[in-house]
Subunit: 293 residues, 2 copies
């Protein structure tokens, strides 16, 4: 007799084991999300971290099913590797993992995309690498701040290279959707140009604002300053690497900001209250649209 067949399962259901390479805030949060969620019971999470303390923390806090101190060993049984290291090491790991693990799919969480995709494109890894950037994070770093809901309702940008094998993008995209995020597609260059404006240059400018405060005024800052400079508490090594990977677009964004600052200084100097109100109103409308969006 013909028994009813289940509808074709989406490709991501083939992902039974996920290797998370790098267990910082993002990798730790992703591991927690996948390991603990109820919608995908039975998906195993293997974590790799450089430091033994981090691996131990991941096991003791039930963030992963298992750990390894070797990237390739962590990936050996995995259907998908998610690379969550600093951006300047992502391409190398993707290439190594693809070479050692036949059939594995690979994605990442890096906040820059163009140089990573270009480097992977030079190798056969390009067929199985689907570059991604979940726009989620915190000024806090480290697995001890990981939380499984970090990706909920966050934009997750997929930046296809055009060299992916059939089905790879769909499978990885469905994996990312399962974290609760909202996926969207951009080219790597579009991504990097926009992120320079929405994230990388704002990070540097937030640091710049923090730097202006002399020691005697630190006790006098208000909640406005604390909000504006929150990301300035971030890790400088991570951000130095991001600037290095997206230097051209960041320079363009900083130069645009410099031009607008010169415009602002002229407005203030000239007591041109109408232009100042317009300057502030433009900003308010964009900020309000972003909150509501």
């Amino acid at each position: 007799v013909n028994t009813p067949q289940p509808a074709t399962e989406p490709a991501a259901s083939a992902i039974r084991t996920v290797a998370v390479i790098g267990l910082g805030l993002l990798g730790g949060s992703l591991a927690k999300c996948v390991h603990n969620r109820t919608e995908t019971p039975g998906v195993r999470v293997i974590g790799w971290a450089r430091r033994s303390e981090t691996r131990q923390f991941a096991i003791e806090n039930d963030i992963v099913d298992a750990v390894s101190d070797d990237v390739i060993e962590a990936c050996e049984l995995a259907d998908l590797a998610v690379i969550a290291t600093p951006v300047d090491r992502i391409a190398d790991y993707a290439i190594q993992i693809a070479a050692a693990c036949p059939g594995i799919l690979i994605t990442d969480v890096g906040s820059t995309k163009l140089r990573i995709v270009e480097a992977v494109n030079q190798t056969p890894a390009a067929q199985r690498f689907v570059a991604a950037h979940p726009i989620a994070g915190s000024e806090k770093t480290g697995i001890e701040h990981a939380f499984g809901e970090l990706f909920c309702d966050k934009p997750i940008v997929i930046t296809p290279s055009g060299n992916e094998q059939p089905g790879a993008i769909a499978a990885v995209e469905q994996f990312w959707k399962s974290t609760g995020g909202r996926t969207m597609h951009l080219t790597p260059r579009q991504h990097d140009d926009l992120l320079a404006i929405t994230s990388h240059a704002p990070h540097l400018i937030s640091s710049l604002v923090a730097r202006q405060v002399p020691a005697e005024a630190i006790g006098m800052v208000g909640t406005g300053w604390l909000d504006t400079t929150r990301i300035a508490a971030g890790d400088e090594a991570l951000w130095t690497a991001i600037v290095s990977e997206n230097r051209t677009a960041i320079l363009a964004a900083l130069t645009a900001a410099q031009k607008d600052l010169t415009h602002l200084i002229h407005i203030v100097q000239d007591s041109d209250d109408e232009s100042l109100a317009e300057f502030l109103r433009t900003a308010r409308l964009i900020r309000q649209r972003a909150s509501n969006g």
Copy 2:
């Protein structure tokens, strides 16, 4: 018989009725704080607001004991008037209230101090005006966002003019302490110079960061950008008035920021990662000290 006398009451205990002039976020929060707190039962709060809807909201939500549509009438029975209007109207109200209400003490919440104190100093009001700035606020405006704990643990800067009558500063300072804030003293000029750096210029730069985002990228902003630009949602009329009152110090702060931005652009252009890490580290250390302070 001799009954035991209570210890001498501090001067502020003589404040039985407070007039709050302007019922926006700050005035409304102050009214709520004084009217509802249990430590000072029996202190009456009279509110003045330009708009009848605001006065009605204040009564219906039990934020004040009574309202008036006339500033002088609101102050007639008060021991203390707190002026919580936009900064460009504070000096005029202080002078009018002092002229009409003998014996009343006057303070304010303005985020600029020098021009207000200088204007009041031209008049007899100087004897009874104790300028203050509670460093508390929000990007939200209006009495509907008022909350009585707004001042808890916030710095409240008192900027004496030197012309106050004996006891006036102590009485007003104790009133401010009773809101839960931490008072400190600065000269009006010190205050304005520091606030330009910690609040006024950061506000403008936060708006500048918000302005850089093109429409198509609004859906892609992350929590970092949302934090950095939170205050850019503030009311442009209030901030245009603040810039007008503290123009020179704000220009100096913006010019210092411009110089640091040029430095940053050179660092990024030259791929000088060591200087970039140092730039970010300086910022992080100041930001971390501010959080812990």
